[in-house]
């Protein structure tokens, strides 16, 4: 994934810093609670939510099970409709393809629709290195880009900013990139949106190249779908002469009819609306309407490795609605940056370590960035059992084992930093299988309890740093039983 995130500290350290930031916590709490309540209302309007959710899950699972066939079918359909299909095994290859395509147009600037896939591969930075400026046109992405910041939410990347902060960023930075912010800009959302409209319109009207992702690709027809609200998507998808879409291979649905499920569940789950203001679909190119050159870049970048994991592959069902972020108690407090990935929140905690592997400290820590409360599973419109995958990935981190990386089976060694836990568990197993040892240990613990420290020393310090040590009773249960009931009728 993007180099932007290299060198991020592990989740617990990043989260500790974030939790100390009162403004950030306030912004996040307000935003997540607002959307949570709205979503519940939007979902309650459709009485067949459970059936839609199950159908969405089944369609995605079926697609993944036959992904090779659907990829080939999609390629044929897009090509027949006048598009050109490219395949990119990793981020570097995708960036190279897009850079070459832009260079072939002779242009040095592009307008972009918000796209998780292009963030994941660090496309903007790769283009910049070749002298091509990429302008983000989604309002939240613009806030992030102007603020020289990183996105912190899948759907609302600037969720961590309040209106006052946004006003300051616009007033300070817009002139560096194009049309300055109007004089006397206030912090009302309407005025801020107007400033963004004016700033971006001059870019839209002159853009020759647009870059997008896609929410769905229909294998049967070769149709791509982008779901959005602001109209910046429509601008990028229809005004430029050349359109380049970078899309993860898991975004396929088999048939046109399948959209009837996702166009009902996605808007309600993400923005809590019956329908988002704009949805665009296009199939290859259309004479005299929209871009006359269309390129589709199909991106792997760890997705096939994820597909190879029996438990973990369900993460590829994700339709990026972000409902799981908005209900997550950990996300609400830690914020999106702490996850060190373009995919924050519960879905990020299972997707990033699978796409990137668990080699880095941050990726090895992500499966632990959860309370396993299960709220994320409850709201997921494609029923991804996020807690199940989290536990599965924790086991992988601690125990190691066979995984697929870049298409090859490799054996992962147990992660460093978990030796103490493994040793403690081995000791516990031995004690529990030796009753005499257990009894002796419990008695010793009870008798010395006045001298117990409040935190553990040595390797146990990290554990007790975030938890109270459980109090030890004055008398072990087994002794108490023996002394009270056990003596009468329990003793054999």
């Amino acid at each position: 994934m993007s180099g932007t995130y290299l060198g991020m500290p592990a989740f617990p350290e990043a989260a500790r810093e974030a939790v100390g930031n009162a403004t950030l916590r306030g912004n996040l709490r307000h935003a997540t609670h607002t959307i949570r309540a709205k979503r519940a209302t939007a979902v309650s309007e459709v009485s067949d939510w459970a059936e839609l959710r199950e159908a969405g899950k089944r369609i995605k699972d079926h697609t993944l099970r036959h992904l090779d066939r659907y990829l080939v079918q999609l390629e044929e359909a897009v090509t027949a409709a006048g598009g050109v299909v490219h395949w990119a095994a990793d981020a570097a290859e995708a960036n190279e393809i897009v850079t070459q395509l832009v260079k072939m147009t002779g242009e040095s600037e592009v307008v972009k629709v918000k796209s998780m896939a292009t963030q994941e591969i660090g496309l903007n930075e790769a283009l910049e290195a070749e002298g091509i400026h990429a302008y983000e046109t989604d309002l939240a992405e613009l806030i992030v880009q102007l603020g020289k910041d990183r996105p912190s939410h899948i759907l609302v990347p600037a969720i961590h900013r309040n209106r006052g902060e946004i006003r300051d960023i616009f007033a300070r930075e817009m002139s560096e990139w194009g049309r300055p912010a109007p004089e006397g800009l206030t912090d009302t959302p309407a005025e801020l949106a107007e400033a963004a409209r004016l700033h971006l319109r001059e870019k839209f009207l002159r853009a020759k190249v647009g870059i997008s992702g896609a929410n769905f690709m229909v294998a049967e027809t070769g149709t791509l779908v982008v779901v959005e609200s602001e109209g910046n998507g429509r601008m990028c998808l229809t005004l430029p002469e050349t359109l380049i879409s970078v899309v993860g291979i898991e975004k396929i649905v088999p048939a046109w009819q399948d959209l009837e499920v996702f166009l009902q569940t996605l808007p309600r789950s993400s923005t809590a609306e019956r329908m988002n203001p704009y949805t665009s679909t296009w199939t290859g190119t259309t004479d005299e309407d929209g871009p006359q050159n269309f390129h589709l870049v199909l991106l792997d970048n760890g997705r096939t490795d994820t597909l190879a994991d029996e438990v973990g592959r369900q993460a590829l069902r994700c339709i990026r609605c972000s409902a799981c972020l908005n209900v997550c108690p950990v996300y609400e407090r830690a914020g999106g940056h702490a996850y060190g990935s373009v995919y924050p929140g519960p879905i990020g905690a299972i997707l990033s370590p699978q796409l990137r592997g668990t080699g880095s400290e941050i990726d090895a820590s992500l499966p632990y960035a959860s309370s396993l409360c299960g709220a994320c599973y409850e709201v997921c419109p494609v029923a991804i059992d996020i807690p199940e995958v989290l536990v599965h990935l924790r086991e992988r981190v601690v125990q190691g084992g066979e995984v697929t990386r870049e298409g090859n089976k490799v054996v992962l060694r147990p992660a460093k930093g978990h030796a103490a836990e493994r040793a403690a568990m081995r000791a516990a197993r031995w004690a529990f299988t030796h009753p005499g040892v257990l009894r002796g240990g419990q008695r010793a613990a009870s008798r010395t309890r006045r001298f117990h420290p409040r935190t553990l020393p040595g390797p146990g310090r990290a554990w007790s740093g975030t938890r109270e040590l459980p109090p030890v009773p004055a008398e072990p249960f087994r002794d108490w039983w023996q002394r009270t009931r056990g003596g009468k009728d329990g003793d054999r």
């Binding site: 067949d48 159908a55 309407a190 009207l205 166009l263 923005t271 329908m275 679909t281």
Partner: protein, 211 residues
């Protein structure tokens, strides 16, 4: 080995152990939500459009030209974009200058036009959605995007369906489609919904009864 073969090979190896999945997908979700008469479905469309800040008007075929003229005048529109196949009668009463939707017109030219009038392909009541499919009476996608004021005419009840599944059935995926649910909006600032970012900030919908 090229990347296409590499990726397809990885997919096939990844799925080598996956159990066969041949059970048909249960589509036991609803084709529409609730029981409504045709008139009630049209009413629901109007309610849901208005709920997302579209301005809804009703008229009959005889009153359409007058209503369009009045809306353009109220807006102070001096010019109006016209798709090539729009019913000429619709603009018979307005004095606003007509601007043809020409393939050669630049985005800058479109930006100087005040309003656009189009028909639609289908309207979905449950979600308050209009779908444009690029037919001659709707024109190319960009004409309903760049001007700040869009008047869209829906023939009721003929063009109205209840639900998303019923809407998709009527649409041709080979055409470029634009689904519009209320005017352009954003919720990016503290999740407050603000109408109007890049698309038309005013969407007026005319529900016109059929003869």
């Amino acid at each position: 080995m090229n990347s296409r073969e590499r990726i397809l090979g990885r997919v096939r190896r990844a799925l080598a152990d996956a159990p066969a999945d041949e059970a048909p997908i249960a589509r036991d979700y609803l084709r529409e939500h609730g029981q409504r008469t045709v008139a009630q479905t049209v009413e629901l469309l109007a309610e849901n459009l208005a709920d997302y800040r579209a301005v809804v008007h009703r008229t009959d075929p005889g009153g359409l030209a007058g209503l369009i003229a009045a809306l353009l005048e109220k807006r102070g529109a001096a010019s109006v974009l016209v798709p090539p196949g729009l019913d000429e009668g619709w603009l018979a009463a307005t004095g606003a200058a007509r601007v043809a939707d020409r393939p050669g017109s630049t985005p800058g030219e479109l930006d100087r036009v005040d309003s656009v009038v189009t028909a639609c392909a289908v309207a979905i009541a449950e979600t308050g959605t209009l779908v444009l499919d690029g037919s001659p009476d709707q024109g190319r996608r960009r004409i309903t995007l760049v001007p700040d004021h869009h008047i869209c005419v829906v023939r009721v009840p003929g063009q109205v369906v209840s639900s998303v599944p019923q809407g998709l059935e009527r649409l041709d995926p080979a055409r470029p489609l634009t689904w519009i649910s209320g005017p352009s909006a954003t919720s990016d600032i503290e999740l407050d919904r603000v109408e109007g970012v890049h698309g038309p900030r005013t969407l007026e919908v005319i529900l016109v009864g059929e003869d």
